[in-house]
Subunit: 684 residues, 2 copies
């Protein structure tokens, strides 16, 4: 299940380091290192530990790749619509389109389970850096990676004996400078309670995505269940359906997926020169393939919508990164930051030359990048096959010797993702599989041994058709049979997709080994020393790159200046009526049109803040200084797309759907009186 779009499919955002030290509102801080002093210097106030603890206990990670928060004592979860659209699609049929029409559960027992979704709340964070580094010792290359991963697997297993209710995860921060054990309370039954029409949630579509002013009701409610009942969530944020105040302090609490702000110049060059051009071309082609296929029938348009959204959203992120890394002013700042650290670290003999070591690793990576990138075909069915084949083999090994995604601590979620019932759309599977095989051949070359391994004498599209039409893996019962049957069942299976995953497995493992040996191990070792150098140079003002673990960013409600013009801080519900054209994606949602007379058009709809976030933060609660929730972050502005590499406080903005607009929607547009009462804290 590698290369999922889930994270990239959420919004992507940013701050800009003049040096590696955080400035202004920059930073995605861990909860055990909130920069209270720094915030107080800028804002005259900062939250205390009680405030931080309460907020942390209310914050939810969704394993689909989003963030969220508890907003009632009965497990009610606020997140973005775009974080639940795949659930809505999975639950839709030809005659019941929950994406197009939205969904309001008539009562709690009508809330419907989202396949594969799991909600997680951090309960503890502890430092295991010494433990892991001791295990690595003086090992290098593949041995270092194995020693590290083995120790991590043991720490995780030891930390969470109750795998039904808890999950342990060791997180590598600062590229290897710190290791922290995060313990989560987990809820593996998550149901959809409320979602508006797609046309309201994604008004403006791809053209407006990452832009502002914005008129999108990108909000939805889920609920966590356990043993068939809503969970109690005494730690939750108070719902506060008010308009934001210009300049007021805001906090975004969520799980930013990935940033690359600590990359060296050589790593950035690799991104610009090698990785991004391939991503740009291949994802653009996939977008085109989807658009034409979906134009064929309304049914296909419905079935492909979520995949297209994911691809277009990712693509916009990647286009923004390409632009950032081709902007000389932007890259000059990144170069200056590296030069500054080098200068401040001069004479530090213990540091060695991590930049040179990384340069060498990058050079080695260039040689294996294309085969490594393309060895894993893209399709849900192939993902099932790969997980089943690997799980069968890995589970026969001791915990510490397994691949990272197959350790005892990782298996429960993997098992859930493999076994949860979820509709499969064959044409979509064929399309993505055919596309990825075709791109593998294109970049590897027709005569490359890996191409021959992947295609044999078939064409990419022909092989995709054979595999998708021949496999039984769309059937959850068959997947369960193979999961339970283990290695013997896999070996005996005549399923063509299983056999295909077995055919690729050795090469995939070999490439992973090469990647570990030549890139991951030396880079981890060098980054660990670079982290020490950064702390030495800049003290506690250094935050780690995002890792899809819980972070908090502080900022304020503020617009920005675009080509000399001030961009407003907020929009109103009335603005959507003015902006509508009648043609998708600017078509007024049916419920907006039908309820126009009753809607309070002055209600704040979306607004912007200076908070530093990125993809994975989608659905994060936006919290005021009182600790109440005033919105859900769902996007960044166009400038934020370079945020993967750096943040510019003047330009980068988080885009938020206000609780005021959600409240208005719950009351007059997509009425859900029970939810309104629950959000007000009234007992049922």
């Amino acid at each position: 299940m590698r290369h999922s779009l889930a994270l990239a499919a959420s919004a992507a955002f940013s701050l800009f380091a003049l040096s590696s030290a955080a400035r202004a509102d920059e930073g995605m801080w861990t909860f055990d290192a909130f920069p209270a002093e720094q915030m107080r210097a800028g804002y005259g106030w900062a939250p205390d530990q009680a405030w931080l603890d309460k907020v942390r206990a209310s914050a939810v990670r969704l394993t689909g790749g989003c963030s969220a928060s508890f907003v009632s004592d009965a497990g009610l979860i606020l997140t973005n619509h775009h974080c639940v659209v795949s659930c809505l699609q999975d639950l839709s049929t030809g005659s019941s389109d929950l994406v197009a029409n939205g969904f309001t559960a008539a009562a709690r027992n009508a809330e419907r389970k989202c396949p594969g979704q799991q909600a997680e709340v951090v309960t503890a964070i502890s430092d295991v850096t010494n433990d892991v580094q001791r295990a690595i010792g003086n090992a290098t290359g593949e041995a270092a990676v194995k020693a590290r991963d083995a120790r991590i697997a043991e720490i995780e297993k030891a930390g969470c004996a109750d795998t039904a209710r808890t999950r342990c995860q060791v997180v590598r921060l600062y590229g290897g400078g710190q290791y922290k054990l995060y313990t989560y309370r987990k809820y593996d039954d998550v149901r959809i309670a409320w979602a508006p029409e797609f046309a309201a949630a994604f008004f403006g579509g791809d053209p407006d995505n990452f832009n502002f002013p914005r008129y999108a009701l990108d909000a939805a409610f889920l609920r966590a269940y356990e043993n068939g009942r809503p969970v109690a969530s005494p730690s939750h944020l108070k719902w506060n359906p008010r308009a934001p105040v210009d300049g007021e302090a805001t906090f975004v609490v969520g799980n930013p997926g990935s940033t690359q702000r600590l990359l060296t110049q050589d790593q950035l060059a690799f991104q610009r020169e090698v990785a991004l051009p391939i991503t740009l071309a291949t994802y653009s082609e996939l977008r085109g393939r989807l658009l034409s296929a979906m134009a064929q029938t309304p049914e296909k348009a419905r079935e492909g919508a979520d995949a297209l959204f994911g691809v277009e959203n990712s693509l916009k992120v990647f286009i923004g990164r390409v632009k950032a890394l081709n902007d000389p002013a932007f890259t000059a700042k990144l170069a200056a930051a590296e030069a500054d650290l080098k200068q401040r670290s001069a004479g530090n003999a213990a540091l060695g030359n991590p930049w040179a070591e990384i340069a060498q690793a990058v050079s080695a990576y260039r040689d294996i990048y294309v085969p490594y990138r393309f060895i894993t075909p893209q399709s849900d069915l192939y993902g099932y096959a790969e997980a089943l084949v690997r799980a069968a083999e890995e589970r026969t090994k001791p915990n510490g010797e397994r691949l990272p995604g197959y350790t005892d601590s990782a298996l429960p979620l993997l098992e859930k993702q493999v076994l949860d019932a979820k509709p499969i759309t064959p044409w979509l599977e064929e399309l993505t599989l055919g596309w990825s095989l075709s791109k593998a051949r294109e970049y590897l070359g027709a005569d490359d041994p890996q191409t021959r391994l992947m295609l044999g004498r078939d064409s990419p599209e022909g092989l995709a058709k054979q595999l998708v039409s021949g496999t039984r893996l769309a059937d959850p019962a068959y997947r369960k049979q193979l999961w339970d049957g283990g290695a013997a069942a896999i070996a005996a299976s005549n399923d063509p997709m299983i056999q295909y995953a077995r055919r690729l497995d050795a090469r995939d493992r070999e490439l992973t080994r090469l990647f570990n040996e030549r890139y991951d191990a030396p880079v981890t070792a060098a980054q660990a020393r670079l982290a020490t150098a950064r702390f030495g140079a800049y003290g506690a003002t250094v935050y780690p790159d995002a890792t899809f673990t819980l972070r908090i960013s502080y900022g304020k409600v503020a617009g920005w200046t675009e080509r000399g013009q001030q961009v407003p801080t907020r929009t109103t519900l009335g603005g959507a009526f003015e902006r509508a054209t009648g043609a998708d994606p600017f078509k007024l949602p049916a419920a907006f049109a039908g309820n126009e007379a009753r809607i309070d058009k002055a209600t704040t709809y979306d607004f912007v803040t200076t908070n530093d976030i990125i993809g994975g933060n989608s659905g994060s609660p936006v919290i005021d200084s009182a600790g109440t929730v005033i919105g859900a972050a769902f996007d960044g502005n166009i400038h934020s797309l370079g945020g993967n590499y750096g943040y510019d406080a003047n330009l980068n903005r988080t885009v938020v759907v206000s609780t005021a607009a959600v409240q208005e929607a719950l009351e007059t547009i997509y009425p859900a009186p029970a939810l309104v009462a629950e959000l007000k804290g009234k007992r049922r």
Copy 2:
């Protein structure tokens, strides 16, 4: 008809300048400046003037964007299959697929006219540099461009009074350092005589494109007609169906379309940072849209084939350019060349600072590039509309005041292209138009005034559907009525595509004016001085960038070394049988399979030479020192894709289909005994 794929759709190739002076086999030389001394130094021999004159008189330019040569005294023309595939497609129907099945005219009177195609032979070249530069005088900006274009229009008109049989074209060389008047004998009735199956011509398809070893019969024969009869072509190349000899000298004579080897560092940065990423993303998406649409029915697969080939071929070229400009070793050489010229020109007061002037022009261009790039929607029908609307207006003006494509010397070919009957495929028109409007909105932004001008309140796909289904421009009679009716007919037309072209025209003209004023004029002025500096520094070893005018390159038959392994010089017909897999695009062509026993498998199929060529050279005769033709250039190897910017003699190769293979095909695979006799010089 701007932005045609015609040129880019032919092969793209290269040499590598260590300085701006040509080395080794680098250079696409004009016939009035062949570097005989330089070639003699490397090869011990060089052609004399008589040799050059004869070859020049045999060389043919095809206005569709390719090169070719006369190979009999009865107007028979050798070119590539991929240069006639659009003709074959235009002549095909659901029941008669000339692309898939190939075409052999049973007799001359069965040869069929190719819509829009014209053949041209250079008859004179004269220097008009002083004339044009005098007209420009001290003018700058828009005024300089107008003065230049007006003088060019007059020179062309005065040079070719007989517009039915001749065409005059002033060519700007060295970016404005030289202006030459090329006079052509033209033949506007060109017919297809012979073409093999697509599966033979394009064996290996996109995966093998720009690669070697190669097994492609990328050859075809056309014939020039006048007054309904084949023309006499006493000047033609002798057909020589022999295998090439390793190391022998070869000449490629044709019309390389465009190179950018004299770009300054700022211009290269603009390509890498701005233009190429947009091209990469948008063309990749178009490729995907085409692939999915074509997968729907065999009919659509047939109808879209030529468009897909054009897009995939262009895309591979662009991907190669992206790679070249992101290759630090490659770009370092380009930077060194500029530094060398700067150093050698130091103290030259007359030079001024052309690099700084170009830097400023590039900076201005960055601001208008996106609107200028996207103002012209992509579709054949829109192309007709634009040409009709503009011709109607421009023809009311004096010759010297018209837009360049609408002068008296340019109108005859434009009229032919607009009025020739040619099938229109509505779904393909809708697809490309919808795509280009969608990309305009994406890059301009949904709220940009130009987006509103282009879309109004419609969606890109909705507008495309309206315009394509509503227009009558697919009917040549209606186009003729509008062409003949001029401005009054255009003003009175209620055709939606005509009205749409009128809606965009003012903005398009304004952007062209801004481009001329801010970029073209200052860059032309600066490049003229840079050309003088180059001649001063490197003498006559400097060749101009390609301009889709006649050039000659010298080189030799030679393989190259790829990751330590020697790539062979040639393939044989037998190799195609070994390489075939049964799956497209590696499926053995039916006629190959059917005639396997009779085919001489030892026959040389394709081979490589060191000649320096680029897109537009497709179909160029490959000539030996005796002046006989031994092949037709149809591609470059993968290294040649950086050839737009520079040539590396160690790596860049031209890929050629041998006359030996074509002869074998004419005799045993796609039998055409009359052509065989004609090529042998036998009278009919």
